[in-house]
């Protein structure tokens, strides 16, 4: 076959022109040289063409995690609480409270753009009145609030955990501030402690049993941080006493987990550690708690983001709910299979069992309420770090409790994005629960924006 091809090829070569043998040889050499040149030029030409040509095939297929969440059978209508037009809204916390103690709930919103705490009161016509409880730019990046009568003068004050910077830093710029109520719902900020690292949470409880309220503080920091309690020495002076060195503690809780009548401290420490600790109050003064690790995982990428204490199975003891989805390991957050909501069931004697409630990529915030009014506690969860550049990725879900503490996940919304905080309660007094969420856009993309969004129920979807 090859020989045939060669002879066919040679037949294509024109015979040299006689008569001079020398000139014939020259022609043959010239031809060979030309063929060599052509044979060299062709691959170069092809390479050039290949290099400059644009592929015209189908777009490269991208494999994405399936989003198979079903839409909630309860329909919700969403609206923005205010018409602020911040370029990158940064709401760090929403909290349903009754500050004026009139039986009607209000909202406290921590705003890291305006650097203040806003109060929102619902007016009879259904609109919302906004009041900055302290002048703007007084409290730099407030992280969380707790309403408590800390000074013991029979009116509610507001305890504020102050983060001060959304840029990761271990600098001691954090504070715990009390907005002290003058009795007329006018507030004066008092710094209870500063020169500490960024503070993500602060809660009150009488840990030493001396009749006044002490504090427990999550000093989040960045590479370094602590959990400490602050012994109340009267006249709003406190001494800070370390409980544990741990960076990145997202939540602390001051509740009675063992039912012995005094408050213990629970702390959720993510940041490579991914553990939940309880500091058991033995009832002795001074407060010298017994440290107990009640849960931990070797999965450093678990992504712990929030913890709530609640009696989810209503068996008379306090359980813990964990949100996982906050991933500070990478320059741009990722979505890991561990992201979602978990229930740490209290089995007694500081034994806790972990159950998965449901998954939600980038889950950052949780709240508990009986959404469907069937006399059990459902869970609402918001995502801050979902894959926002993909259309339809979920930002808000609720997990329906079937009464046996097993849950069905329902999607509520995909917009606004970056829900760093959620709360749920009956704001309108109509017997149905509203969901309130705040968006935190501390980095780009600024996509599907919102600030404080309220979802009201519109009833069951008709079959």
């Amino acid at each position: 076959m090859f020989r045939e091809f060669l002879s066919w090829g040679s037949s294509l070569v024109p015979e040299p022109i006689a008569p001079l043998e020398e000139s014939g040889t020259r022609v043959r050499y010239g031809l060979t040289i030309a063929l060599v040149l052509v044979a060299t030029a062709i691959p170069i030409g092809w390479l050039q063409m290949i290099a400059t040509t644009t592929p015209q095939g189908p777009p490269l297929e991208i494999s994405r995690a399936p989003s198979d969440l079903e839409m909630s059978p309860i329909r919700f209508r969403a609206f923005e609480l205010t018409d602020h037009e911040d370029w990158s809204p940064r709401v760090t916390n929403v909290n349903i409270v009754d500050l004026d103690e009139n039986g009607e709930p209000e909202l406290l919103v921590c705003d890291a753009v305006r650097n203040t705490i806003f109060q929102y009161q619902r007016l009879p016509d259904g609109s919302w009145k906004e009041t900055a409880l302290v002048p703007e730019n007084t409290i730099s990046v407030p992280a969380r609030t707790e309403v408590v009568d800390l000074d013991g003068d029979n009116d509610p004050d507001i305890l504020v955990a102050v983060f001060r910077s959304l840029t990761p830093t271990s600098d001691p710029i954090g504070q715990v501030v009390l907005l002290q109520n003058n009795g007329d719902n006018e507030f004066t900020p008092r710094v209870l402690i500063d020169q500490i690292r960024r503070v993500s949470d602060a809660r009150s409880g009488d840990f030493d049993g001396d009749g006044d309220l002490d504090l427990v503080v999550a000093e989040y920091g960045h590479e370094f941080g602590r959990i400490f309690w602050m012994e109340n020495r009267g006249d709003l002076t406190f001494v800070d006493r370390e409980l544990m060195r741990a960076a990145g503690t997202v939540s602390v809780s001051a509740e009675d987990f063992d039912g012995d009548g005094d408050p213990d401290v629970a702390a959720f420490i993510p940041s490579e550690q991914e553990e939940v600790w309880i500091f058991e109050n033995t009832g002795e003064a001074p407060f010298q708690p017994v440290q107990r690790k009640i849960w931990g995982t070797a999965n450093f990428d678990f992504g712990g983001s929030e913890m709530l204490s609640v009696d989810l199975d209503e068996d008379g003891d306090l359980d813990l709910l964990l949100a996982a989805g906050e991933d500070s390991e990478y320059p741009v957050p990722t979505q890991q299979s561990s992201h979602g909501v978990y229930w740490l069931e209290n089995l007694g004697d500081f034994e806790f069992e972990l159950h998965s409630v449901g998954s939600l990529p980038g889950c950052s915030s949780i709240a508990v309420a009986d959404i469907d009014n069937d006399n059990d506690l459902d869970i609402i969860a918001g995502s801050r770090f979902n894959n926002w550049h993909v259309d339809g990725t979920t930002s808000l879900v609720w997990f329906e409790n079937d009464g046996e503490a097993t849950f069905q996940t329902w999607k509520i919304a995909d917009s606004p994005a970056r829900l760093a905080t959620v709360a749920c309660g009956d704001l309108t007094g109509n017997g149905q629960k509203e969901i309130i969420a705040g968006s935190l856009f501390n980095n780009e993309p600024i996509i599907r924006p919102g600030r404080v969004t309220v979802w009201t129920q519109e009833g069951e979807e008709q079959e």
Partner: protein, 472 residues
């Protein structure tokens, strides 16, 4: 000769056919995915889009390059698709398998990621220990420390893998083993923070409170990461991100302004960033306006940033200094006072500069008490910056000056105590803590610091404050 010519003709024929097939093949190749860059700054969007176009990927390394760009900006699924395509073209390339393995971690696909790291080793990846390290981290992600341990044991040439082994031992209750491993790592990398912190935890549990406190304090000032393969990858990701960051445009504009090329700076901001609002670009534009002598415009741009995106110490400083240029001293004082109190930026020098300027203004107004208080704050913040970033002993004078200028402030005395402790000067440390507590008897960390110093001195351990003492 005829035979040669015939062979050449055959070669040409083959070249034509093969070339055409290759050309067709390239034409039919899949096109690069286009990421949805909505919500990103215009400059970043342009950078990503120009990468898609410029790379026009056809060959494996081009697909890998685009995969890296997508990875850097958080388009993890797109990144995986690109690396997978690269692997289809060059299935025997171990570095592509390795890169795909890492991309799959970011996409949350741990199992698939592990398979790629295994494949990278099968193909002869030159740094097998790095593959073992990532396999170990993936096993931890699956909450499987035993399997992880097996992988890390094959990567013990990497300090990060040995540190993971120490962590696993510590969590498994093998504190003596963890202690031994950590001490070895600390001997080799005395500045790395993480092993010191973990060793402090070990000491804490063993009831060695003094040793634990010493390690906590000595490692508390500044974080130094232990080198690890993941850190190396993050650094390359960060380099790509920096190129696509709007701050890159700002830096370019600043360089041009510094070189006196104002119109070039103006041009680059207009060309690269367009008219879309972005605080960083507006900030850079304000510098251009200042250079052009348009102070009113400069102030208007800085005010717009604050109006649309809030105030922090840096922005207060920028606006305050612009207002000084416009002789609006009352406004300067107001803005700077608020900005300094926010202390919102981790650039401590900005806060220090604000206090320094407030001290100057108070002094000009003849209010010496206020001037001194602000000057004290300025020295304190300058001291804090040096304390954290440079030779801590250089901060001593600043803290002393701060404390002397404002005898009512306990903070500089507390840091003096910390600093003297770190330098092993326990007598001075004790004095500083005691002075601090005279001003604020409830300063818990000063109480703890004083108790620690006293305990060490009582045990005769004047020189026992250095981290190396952990070896004892």
């Amino acid at each position: 000769m005829r035979v040669v010519n015939a062979v050449l003709l055959a070669v040409i024929g083959i070249e034509l056919v093969a070339g055409f097939r290759s050309y067709r093949n390239v034409q039919q190749q899949p096109v690069a995915p286009t990421a949805n860059t909505e919500g990103l700054p215009g400059f970043t969007r342009n950078m990503i889009m120009s990468s898609e176009v410029a790379m026009n990927p056809k060959f494996a390394e081009q697909w890998s390059g685009l995969g890296m760009v997508y990875q850097a900006f958080g388009f993890y699924d797109e990144s995986v698709a690109c690396f997978t395509r690269a692997q289809e073209i060059s299935p025997e390339d171990p570095s592509i398998a390795y890169e795909l393995g890492f991309a799959l971690i970011l996409a949350g696909k741990t199992d698939e990621s592990s398979r790629e790291f295994e494949r990278a080793m099968e193909l002869g990846h030159p740094y097998a220990s790095q593959c073992w390290y990532f396999l170990g981290r993936n096993a931890l992600r699956m909450d499987d420390p035993e399997t992880a341990k097996g992988f890390f044991l094959k990567a013990t040439s990497l300090p990060a893998a040995r540190f993971e082994l120490a962590k696993i031992a510590w969590r498994a209750g093998e504190s003596a083993q963890a202690e031994h491993m950590l001490k070895e790592i600390i001997n080799e990398f005395p500045n790395a923070t993480e092993p010191q912190r973990l060793l402090a935890e070990v000491f804490d549990e063993q009831g060695e409170q003094h040793l634990a406190s010493m390690l906590y304090l000595s490692s508390d000032r500044r974080f130094v990461a232990l080198t690890s393969p993941r850190q190396e990858i993050f650094e390359s990701i960060q380099q790509l991100r920096n190129v696509g960051n709007v701050k890159f445009v700002q830096t370019r504009a600043t360089e041009l302004l510094d070189a006196g090329k104002v119109s070039d700076a103006q041009e680059i901001l207009k060309y690269e960033a367009g008219s879309e609002f972005h605080p960083v670009i507006w900030d850079a534009r304000s510098d251009v306006e200042r250079a052009l002598g348009n102070i009113e415009e400069q102030i208007a741009l800085l005010q717009e940033i604050i109006e649309r995106d809030g105030l922090d110490s840096y922005r207060a400083a920028r606006l305050g200094f612009a207002l000084i240029g416009n002789e609006q001293k009352d406004e300067v004082q107001k803005v700077m006072t608020v900005g300094a109190a926010l202390e919102s930026n981790d650039e401590r020098e900005v806060v220090a500069d604000l206090y320094q300027q407030l001290a100057n203004l108070a002094s000009e107004q003849g209010n010496e008490d206020k001037a001194l208080a602000n000057w004290s704050e300025a020295q304190f913040h300058y001291g804090r910056k040096i304390y954290q970033t440079e030779d801590p002993s250089k901060a001593i004078d600043l803290f002393i000056q701060s404390a002397e200028a404002n005898p009512e402030t306990a903070d500089p005395l507390f840091y003096l105590g910390q600093l003297f402790y770190e330098l092993g000067e326990l007598t001075d440390a004790q004095t500083a803590y005691e002075e601090c507590l005279k001003i604020d008897p409830n300063f818990g960390r000063a109480i703890d610091g004083l108790a620690l110093v006293k305990a060490i001195r009582n045990s005769g351990g004047e020189d026992a404050t250095q981290p190396e003492s952990a070896e004892d």
